[in-house]
Symmetry: C2
Subunit: 175 residues, 2 copies
DNA sequence: CCGGCAAATGCAACTTGTTGCATAAGGCTA
DNA sequence: TAGCCTTATGCAACAAGTTGCATTTGCCGG
């Protein structure tokens, strides 16, 4: 259900194709949602057949046609319903933590490599966040409340990632 | 695959039934993994049929029989393989963040209720963590490296949750 | 004495997400 | 000129996780 909601939110802001949405996920929504193109295309088609979206095909000569999706009244209504009801707590699943519980069987070299690679991933994520901040939220003072809200989420994403980085570095130093 | 690994890790420490594992998930592994009993029972049976576990049935008169699972050689090998290969980065999916992107459509009352309830969930989680820390890691100085590793994961869980709490409170204060 | 909880297991149907493959044309680079 | 990236879409099979239902007995509280 959440994927549907995310799609409704982006398309309600601005109609677009599955491909467009994929780009948005990479650009400004990296800390909010990620999905593969297969999942997007399938879900968009389902939402259309459920009446939450309409679809207009723009023929292109030298590339596959673009299928532009727009949110319908029913779609907006579904979105409002989703917004009004509280989210279910999402279950904890930390495979990395699991490895720590098998400490004796986890070879030291694998451990080091894993943690190093992980730290690199985290740092890349911070770079992405910084890019988003520059592009979308360069002047936090000037933001309207509706623009300020997404900015908050980015800030939290950054703080959480920083907490992770600190932790990884502590653990690596200790061994 | 990660669920399998988690099961191999707990069962390798100590054989037990699906029900036992469920209790462990609630008690000392709350910040590592959560799964429903249906998922556990099904997965355990699959792992047995794949030769990673053996199963011994202890008949009980007045309750359903206990099916005690033990890790086999093949199971240990599967675990070691999993430990040796690095984890895939897990995709970002933050439905709460999504709601922030629909700020204008998110009614103020619903917002307030959602954030308040969410903060309560986080605080309960902190309480759970504190209980785990008391029960398992009351004397951090005295821990062996293999005991120290799980303790690290608990500490990170706490710090991340604290970061969330601070953020929620900031956001609530601002509106 | 009735209802719910704890112990202990399970099936069936469903939703959500992943993996592998496929198409088709143009541009870039080694 | 071969191979990869980008644009743009999709199917089919699978893995993972959820939801709803079902069973049996004993204990505990109201």
């Amino acid at each position: 259900m959440s994927l549907r909601a995310v799609l409704l939110i982006t398309l309600q802001r601005e109609p677009g194709t599955g491909y467009d949405i994929l780009q948005r996920f990479k650009a400004g929504l990296a800390h909010v949602w990620q999905a593969s193109h297969q999942q997007l295309y399938r879900e968009l088609e389902r939402m259309r057949s459920d009446g939450q979206l309409t679809c207009e095909t723009l023929p292109q000569t030298e590339r596959p046609d673009r299928k532009i999706y727009r949110v319908t009244e029913a779609g907006l209504q579904a979105l409002d319903t989703w917004l009004a009801e509280p989210l279910a707590a999402n279950p904890v699943r930390q495979p990395l933590f699991a490895k720590f519980f098998a400490w004796e069987r986890w070879p030291e070299q694998a451990r080091r490599e894993e943690l190093t690679a992980f730290r690199e991933q985290l740092k890349e994520r911070l770079t992405t966040y910084a890019a988003i901040e520059r592009e979308w939220f360069s002047d936090p003072q000037a933001l309207t409340p509706a623009q300020r809200a997404p900015w908050h989420t980015l800030r939290l994403g950054q703080r959480l990632t920083e907490t992770w980085v600190e932790w990884v570095e502590e653990v690596m130093k200790e061994e």
